[in-house]
Symmetry: C2
């Protein structure tokens, strides 16, 4: 069924896409201080777009310790309108052409229906669906203000682990009241199959530094008799997983519940083509992970320990027979259930300290406070509204329930605001987020905009009382 909202989305798509392209071209990499001016420029760009969209209140929040975030508010005007807070982020992952991009990562190119560029999917594309969606909502309903009280919070540090989300939420205290929180930083099962997320993994990340001799030593004159910091680093890192790929850090699994038979059955029933996933979006040759769990269980229900980067010693051409001074690794841990980020960091610290050999120091430095995992109920009326909106936008009755493997500050936002969370975003595993050649199918972004437009109508129909 072609909705009025769909027609309105199609009419607005051209100029909206042009605006999104210009936004993508601002390299708002929060992890790199050299790009912090770009993060500020990205916030200003979004703020201008929201003003043009009609938001009466638009503010760039940058007074705290955090990089600039964008706050916008548009009251419905209807009595007892449902209050919605939308969360997304405008900062992006680092990207360099030399990493293997087909096009420069901070240029936007639409090729064969795919919008290429860093942030095209994660998360500028999935924030931008709200700009087009709101315009379509107004056009389709003939309203001059949205049918819900709409608040947007688009932060600038999500790709750095949202280290200051507490301060941001605290600075906005009293201005983020909501009956429903809509998170637009996740995806759907696949391009043909919309889905709703009922869980999101948490995250802690940091850097492990092992220091050995104070100067590089000749490995012939000293090797075998002094500790090699790279050897000590790999001994610690290799001990993180046991041979079955369970995580061997004592206490790490505190708060992790085994999936119930019912949960396992639901996951097993998903139309998941593992071989297609491995050779397609995962660009791998085998599914490998914790013994005793399926691929989808590993992704949604199980915590992980990943080494994201490693370096130390001589890495130039040829050889250099040294015992080097230092070795480093970047580590991140995905958390589930009731795992507590602070407790996990403590457990890892203890594990590292217990395994540091004589003659080296081994130190973890953590990024921020970490991110709690989030689990939400599939049975809330807001979830039903989202299911109807997504089903209509995708012309299907099948809206699956999934877990999201990634992590964001959702649990902290939900806790601070005290409202149920629904996830409306249209990323797919083919988007290559965090990787070279990140891209988003333009038609999927338009479906996302349509789903958002329909969601405001659906939520208004449910009414504030039913959501309480």
């Amino acid at each position: 069924m072609t909705t009025f909202e769909r027609q309105a989305v199609a009419r607005g798509a051209g100029p909206w896409l042009t605006d999104l392209c210009r936004w993508i071209e601002i390299p708002s990499v929060s992890a790199d201080p050299a790009h912090h001016d770009d993060v500020a420029a990205s916030a200003r760009y979004l703020a201008d777009a929201l003003r043009r969209a009609g938001f009466p209140t638009v503010e760039v929040q940058g007074g705290g310790p955090y990089l600039p975030a964008v706050y916008a508010h548009w009251p419905s005007g209807d009595a007892d309108a449902v209050r919605v807070v939308v969360y997304g982020h405008h900062d992006v992952q680092p990207a360099e052409l030399a990493d293997g991009w087909t096009y420069p990562p901070f240029e936007a190119h639409v090729v064969d229906g795919l919008l290429h560029g860093r942030g095209s999917s994660d998360d500028k594309g999935n924030v931008a669906i709200h700009l087009l969606g709101l315009a379509a909502h107004l056009a389709a309903t003939g309203r001059t203000a949205p049918a819900v009280d709409l608040t947007l919070l688009v932060e600038g540090e999500e790709e750095s682990g949202s280290p200051h989300i507490s301060a941001l939420l605290s600075d906005l205290a009293g201005r983020l009241e909501a009956d429903v929180i809509v998170i637009s930083d996740t995806g759907i099962f696949d391009a043909a199959t919309p889905s709703l997320v009922t869980g999101m993994r948490g995250l802690v990340s940091g850097e492990l530094h092992v220091h050995g001799p104070d100067v590089d030593l000749h490995s012939g004159s000293f090797g075998g008799a002094v500790p090699n910091p790279i050897t000590e680093l790999v001994r610690i890192l290799a001990a993180i997983h046991d041979p079955d790929r369970h995580i061997a850090i004592p206490g790490f699994y505190d708060g992790v519940d085994e999936p119930t038979d019912e949960e396992r059955a639901l996951i097993a029933a998903l139309p998941f083509d593992e071989h297609g996933w491995v050779t397609g979006p995962a660009r791998s040759t085998a599914a490998v992970g914790e013994a005793g769990y399926s691929t989808l269980e590993r992704l949604g229900m199980r915590p992980t320990a990943e080494i994201n980067g490693i370096w130390g010693g001589y890495t130039g051409p040829g050889g250099k027979t040294i015992v080097p001074t230092d070795a480093y690794a970047k580590l991140s841990f995905r958390l589930v259930g009731r795992q507590d980020p602070a407790a996990v960091m403590r457990r890892v610290d203890e594990f590292v300290a217990a395994r540091a050999a004589d003659g080296v120091t081994a130190t973890m430095t953590w990024e921020g406070q970490g991110v709690r995992p989030l689990v939400v109920s599939a049975d809330h009326p807001a979830m039903d509204a989202a299911r109807r909106a997504l089903g209509a936008a995708f012309d299907t009755d099948t809206v699956l329930i999934t877990r999201e493997g990634g992590s964001g500050p959702e649990a902290e936002i939900a806790g601070a605001i005290g409202a149920p969370v629904i996830f409306v975003g249209v990323m797919t595993d083919d988007d290559q987020i965090h990787a070279p050649d990140e891209r988003a199918p333009v038609d999927l972004l338009l479906k996302g905009a349509e789903a958002v437009a329909l969601l405001w109508r659906e939520l208004a129909a449910v009414g504030r009382a039913a959501l309480a």
Copy 2:
């Protein structure tokens, strides 16, 4: 006792040191193709210096697959003169100011009696002792040609593992006949205690590459369900040593003999200050190595496996939560006794292949053919001559016997030439070879020159017949 040779060394020291400084300033890094023109310039510089010293035959050998080497020959003119081949190298380890050098590595600075600069000790300084030593020998003896038939072979690829030494030796077939081979690429026990080396470790080195997914993957969307190449790399690397730091590669110890009680007693009798060594030249906080062996045994008698460098994934500022595509490590193994480089490479290949997890490829790429270990007898008349020359130069009767932990093409040279080997070089553990701030005490280099000058007189006195 002040020898005539010592007086002649002192007279020649000034201009000689100036020449050495200019040679050090040529960055002859064989490992880096960008410096191969400098390796050629370094060879030409040495050839000119040898011509000025009086060598009637001086050639830069560069026609083979190897970087330029220098060959020089000066016949004694005496009937049945002892024939000596001296080996050293003029290429140097990589060095960058940013690695922590006090002075630019390819400038020469003499500060507090220390000659600073890459190659000041290893090996330009220890090759240059032959220039000054020969001049002193001629001056002290009043000869117009040396008392021995003198051949110098100074190669340009030692710091890259001498990958083409066979071709070089083969190109010089018939022009390297010798009764004694003098290696000048090693050191002495300490600055006050001369010593003679009776063994030298062999070496194989290469790079381990683990490849996982074909693109960087978001660790939230994919982590835990696809193999992480860094995790797989560290699992392989950590398995190289067992908890007692024995090397756990099956067959690795083939050809390694346990030290005899007599060898252990000799080593234990050396005046070794372990605490001073650990906190001094080793710039460490603990002696750490294979269980069951002392520090000196670990350095001289035992093979090692070292990780010289490691890299993969994201290593920039902040975090990037990816499962990366590739991870790499540079490995080197020091060999002893009858260990065969080709067999060790095969054993490591098998070990890596057996430990590569599903979903990744793990491949070793070796540098060259490796270097055999060398063991020589302490009882040869040439060794006695060297003992007398060193003792006189250092004014001591104590000339220790040691093992050298480092590696060079000595075993191959000895095999090709078919003559006994003696080691005359004045490096010490304080020289920081292969590290930032490499330096050599000028007075030690002068003692080395004096020892060389005395050695030619001593060897001539022994006579060719006694050396056969």
